[in-house]
């Protein structure tokens, strides 16, 4: 079937197209060049006056894995307020902070998103992450595999194993757990918490292993680079949420020695300790550090006011923050000599000084980082806010007067502690398209996604131009996934199943000679049973795997 999208105003930063009127042709799931053979168009959409972008990509959203299911189970009262009816084509479920998987897939698609990446796949829990993502319809998905607090790596580092051996282990784990990148959460900190350390600074040693967070970050960043994995080491830094952690973050940037590194939910790591409340914005220094270090990228992890739930691998910090739980119930887990997790419900309040300033700090970072290719739009769903708040966030970025109106309503002391009112920048549609499409595809390493030139998969979102950007981005006119119309007027009209994006870096099989006895002696599963096989993803007839090239091997 040949589809023609006629006359839309196209924003395709990957191709350098910034708001030009263009026709787009789609056949067999891909965008194609203008057909020269005069074959008839089977279906034409008149998109004159509409805005056309590729499907949006959420590069950091907690959509699959054990901690998400703990968060769901923990908060029945949150689901009860947002029931989702079954329709003739869609399944029922529940929404709000941590929606059921079907609802998450539908709602992402209805917002124009066509791919989502789960950033905290514990290797031992990877099956669950993939099973949940396998039940998340329409969108493509993928995961970053968590390392850095696993005892095997820390034992290797303590034993001064060479970088090559560590690379083999990293690549082996990534293949076994089927991820597209490597994530570190509070490097070594989750492990240290098991030894009863309650905080771990960048240069502080694990009380059992002779290893610091800085060394872990350097080692893993080097592994990612040497293995040719496109996505830079994805780092949830030390000291999340701690006033003054700005210094840790600046040190982390300095300490990585120019290696590619992605700092995730950086808003939570940009705090000073000035002022009457000993809590202040470090956004300016952080943005400056990002601006002057081209090896660094970041997503913001914006908070927005209201009820949500925080679900993190960082059980050390989540345990420390449990006193803020609202409602007052929370879960921490130590997991399988692999990692951990902490789930703490939060209600961010605009009249709470700290929350109000967190809100302003996130926006400051968005607006002060100059290069939209290196900063990404996230709320760290559901940690800063549910992903359904993205259209509101986009309006805050694109509309200064709206932003300043909101600013005028938050805690007055927080207003005094932010430079937000003086920042004039308004994001353009092209910059939004970079942050949520082209830049995201590039940083994850997705081949043939996030762009509208011929050869790309036809993941396309069409909006009606509207000066109220929240309205515009809430309800796309059309969303095409792999060339099929899946959403019309903001509602799912067809349910399809996306692919799972992975990378498969090479490794020396001899690493299993070390791993097998380790599994037999210390773990609770056989090595062979740990590795996820391809058919586990595809045997339901809906899932598939798409392996992306490594760097330099395009």
């Amino acid at each position: 079937m040949l589809i023609k999208l006629t006359g839309g105003t196209v924003y395709d930063p990957a191709s350098g197209i910034d708001g030009q009127q263009q026709d787009i042709y789609v056949q067999d799931g891909r965008i194609i060049d203008v057909p020269k053979d005069g074959r008839p168009v089977d279906k034409e959409y008149d998109l004159r006056g509409k805005v056309v972008m590729s499907g949006a990509i959420d590069m950091h959203t907690h959509i699959g894995g054990g901690k998400g299911n703990i968060a769901r189970t923990l908060l029945p009262e949150d689901h009860r307020q947002d029931p989702v009816h079954r329709t003739s084509i869609t399944r029922s479920g529940n929404g709000h902070a941590m929606p059921s998987t079907y609802v998450a897939g539908y709602r992402y698609a209805e917002m124009g998103y066509t791919a989502c990446f789960e950033p905290a796949v514990l290797p031992i829990n990877a099956r669950q992450a993939h099973m949940e993502m396998g039940d998340t319809p329409i969108v493509d998905k993928g995961g970053y595999v968590m390392l850095g607090s696993d005892d095997f790596l820390l034992r290797m580092m303590t034993a001064n194993k060479d970088q090559k051996a560590i690379n083999d282990y990293v690549a082996w784990t990534l293949n076994a757990a089927k991820g597209i990148g490597i994530k570190v959460v509070n490097a070594g900190g989750i492990n240290a918490f098991k030894f009863n350390q309650r905080k771990l600074d960048l240069d502080e040693k694990n009380s059992h292993y002779d290893v610091t967070p800085r060394q872990i970050l350097q080692t893993l960043a080097k592994a990612v680079q040497e293995l040719g994995i496109t996505h830079p080491l994805h780092v949830h830094g030390c000291n999340l949420g701690v006033p003054g952690n700005l210094e840790t973050t600046l040190n982390t940037i300095k300490g990585i020695d120019g290696l590619p590194m992605h700092l995730t939910h950086i808003q939570f790591h940009s705090y000073g300790k000035e002022g009457d409340f000993k809590f202040s914005s470090g956004a300016a220094q952080i943005a400056e550090a990002i601006n002057s270090n081209p090896n660094i990228t970041a997503d913001v992890g914006q908070i927005l006011f209201g009820q949500t739930v925080t679900a993190s691998g960082d059980n050390m910090r989540q345990h420390a923050n449990h006193r803020f739980a609202s409602p007052n119930k929370w879960v921490c887990m130590d997991i399988e000599c692999d990692a951990g997790c902490g789930v703490v419900p939060f209600k961010y309040k605009d009249q709470n000084f700290v929350n109000a300033l967190q809100w302003a700090i996130g926006l400051e970072i968005f607006l002060l980082v100059e290069d939209p290719w290196r900063i990404f739009l996230t709320t760290d769903h559901p940690n800063g806010a549910p992903f359904t708040s993205y259209p509101h966030l986009i309006r805050l970025l694109m509309d200064r007067s709206f932003r300043n109106d909101m600013l005028a309503t938050i805690h007055p002391e927080a207003q005094k502690m932010t430079t937000l009112a003086s920042i004039e920048r308004e994001y353009t549609l092209n910059e939004i398209a970079i942050m949520t499409r082209a830049g995201a595809a590039r940083i994850i390493g997705l081949k043939d996604r996030g762009a509208l030139s011929a050869g790309n998969f036809a993941d396309i979102t069409v909006y009606t131009e509207n000066p109220d950007r929240q309205t515009m981005f809430t309800k796309p006119d059309y969303v095409f996934k792999d060339g099929e119309l899946v959403v019309k007027d903001g509602e799912v009209v067809k349910v399809t199943w996306g692919t799972t994006h992975i990378v498969k870096p090479d490794y020396d099989l001899s690493i299993e000679k070390d791993l097998k006895p380790y599994f037999d002696k210390y773990l609770t599963m056989k090595l062979g049973n740990f590795k996820i096989s391809d058919d586990e993803i595809s045997e339901d007839g809906r899932g598939s795997l798409t392996a992306h090239p490594l760097r330099g091997a395009a």
Partner: protein, 419 residues
């Protein structure tokens, strides 16, 4: 004849995956690492392979059509049991969504003791590998651990070597409440577990006293339920002195009224210990035969654990109202679907309502159901996934033989499509 090694078991709940099984046609024999739970469950012979409608052999298609007919135009179908693998549960939830049914896991009343505590105040828990490598003090509350999982001590406490213990034999085991039924908890060097016995019904008082002592409160009694306060104080002190204490309970064993409050007390003791500066974790001994699987899959599909009702067109959760037996007793239910792919000795609840059973081959009934469809067992007749009792690890179940029996998922999907 072939031998398959490293076979994972869905039966024991502890994720045993070191079984060796000899396959001769459809006959299985456990040749290594069996136990009193796993060996008979694997070795059980295939009995019936043909579906039955009112006791008469029928094709799968006819049985699915008949089942759909019984489900059509009902007001409140109930799908109980829910003992199957991840794909079986997925298909079960799809059928429930379409037919407006209640989904209710057969052991939910046990799991509820944990879930109510979780949903009211949360917990700090750990998993098997952490226990295996770190636990230096295990407090078992109200549970006969080795009767539940015969190889638990061998695999996770008396393992030869642990990463963070000088000698696993030095782990200290304390029982509070039920005494152990055997000697599995005796260390390899002969150190017996300390046992502070009391009646199950006294556990609320005993754990409350322990909680007070952990917090440093003074108690003005000499004993509680026959246990000297000094003994409980000793446990409190040991928990505080441990590097990585673990408090273990089996919700199924806590069979007394409002046991969720005792679970909550235990969870709060763990939290208090961590707040006071010691690491300690809880270990709720989850269920077998797909309990965790049912709650996990229902969790991500609906947002709730496996006692939900789809009657309004969306899932609603109520840990009491949607109890299968209660719905049958009150006649609110008008048809029962019962799914049990693991255990052919299990029986559906008694009812005179139309009943459809999707069960492991070989099931015997006191009353022949309207439709019976024998299915394969996950991890024997087809591959699949099942959750371990610590709820974090999903194991990959292997297909061991070609029995021709359909999977739960295939049968439930056929019924859904016929609907």
């Amino acid at each position: 004849m072939t031998e398959i090694t490293e076979v994972p078991s869905p039966f024991c709940g502890i994720g045993t995956d070191d079984l060796s099984i000899q396959v001769d046609g459809t006959t299985l024999k456990v040749t290594a690492n069996g136990c009193s739970v796993n060996t008979p469950a694997f070795e059980q012979a295939i009995a019936d392979t043909s579906p039955r409608i009112a006791g008469q052999a029928a094709s799968l298609e006819a049985a699915a059509t008949k089942a759909a007919e019984l489900l059509r135009n009902t007001h409140q179908p109930v799908i109980g049991g829910c003992a199957t693998d991840v794909n079986g549960m997925r298909a079960l939830l799809a059928l429930a969504d379409k037919s407006g049914a209640v989904v209710d896991n057969m052991n939910f009343n046990n799991a509820r003791r944990n879930l109510l505590a979780l949903q009211d105040s949360g917990w700090m828990n750990t998993t098997l590998a952490e226990l295996k490598n770190r636990c230096d003090l295990l407090l078992v509350v109200g549970t006969d651990l080795e009767a539940f999982a015969p190889r638990f001590f061998e695999k996770y406490l008396w393992n030869e070597e642990a990463m963070f213990l000088d000698s696993t034999a030095n782990r200290e085991i304390i029982y509070l409440g039920k005494a152990p039924s055997g000697n599995a908890s005796t260390s390899p060097t002969g150190q017996k577990a300390r046992v502070l016995p009391c009646a199950d019904a006294d556990l609320p008082d005993v754990t409350a006293a322990l909680s007070a002592l952990v917090k440093g409160h003074l108690l003005h009694v000499q004993s509680v339920a026959g246990i000297a306060i000094s003994e409980l104080q000793l446990i409190a002190d040991k928990l505080k002195a441990a590097h990585y204490g673990v408090i273990l309970w089996g919700a199924a064993a806590l069979a007394f009224d409002q046991a969720e409050l005792t679970v909550q007390t235990l969870c709060n003791i763990v939290k208090d210990l961590n707040q006071l500066g010691t690491r300690c974790s809880g270990f709720p001994l989850g269920g077998k035969e797909g309990d965790q699987t049912a709650n996990q899959v229902c969790g991500w599909t609906t947002g709730y654990p496996a006692r939900v009702n789809f009657a309004r067109g969306y899932p609603e959760y109520d840990p009491y109202l949607y109890d299968t037996q209660a719905l049958l007793n009150s006649r609110e239910a008008d048809v029962l679907v019962w799914v049990q792919a693991f255990n052919s000795s299990a029986q559906p609840p008694k009812t005179d309502l139309p009943t459809i059973v999707i069960g492991r081959s070989g099931m015997k009934f006191e009353k022949e159901p309207d439709v019976f469809i024998p299915v394969g067992t996950p991890g024997i007749d087809h591959s699949g996934h099942a959750y371990r009792l610590d709820n974090v690890v999903a194991i990959r179940l292997k297909k061991l033989r070609d029995s021709g029996l359909p999977s739960t998922a295939e049968v439930l999907t056929a019924i859904e499509q016929a609907l």
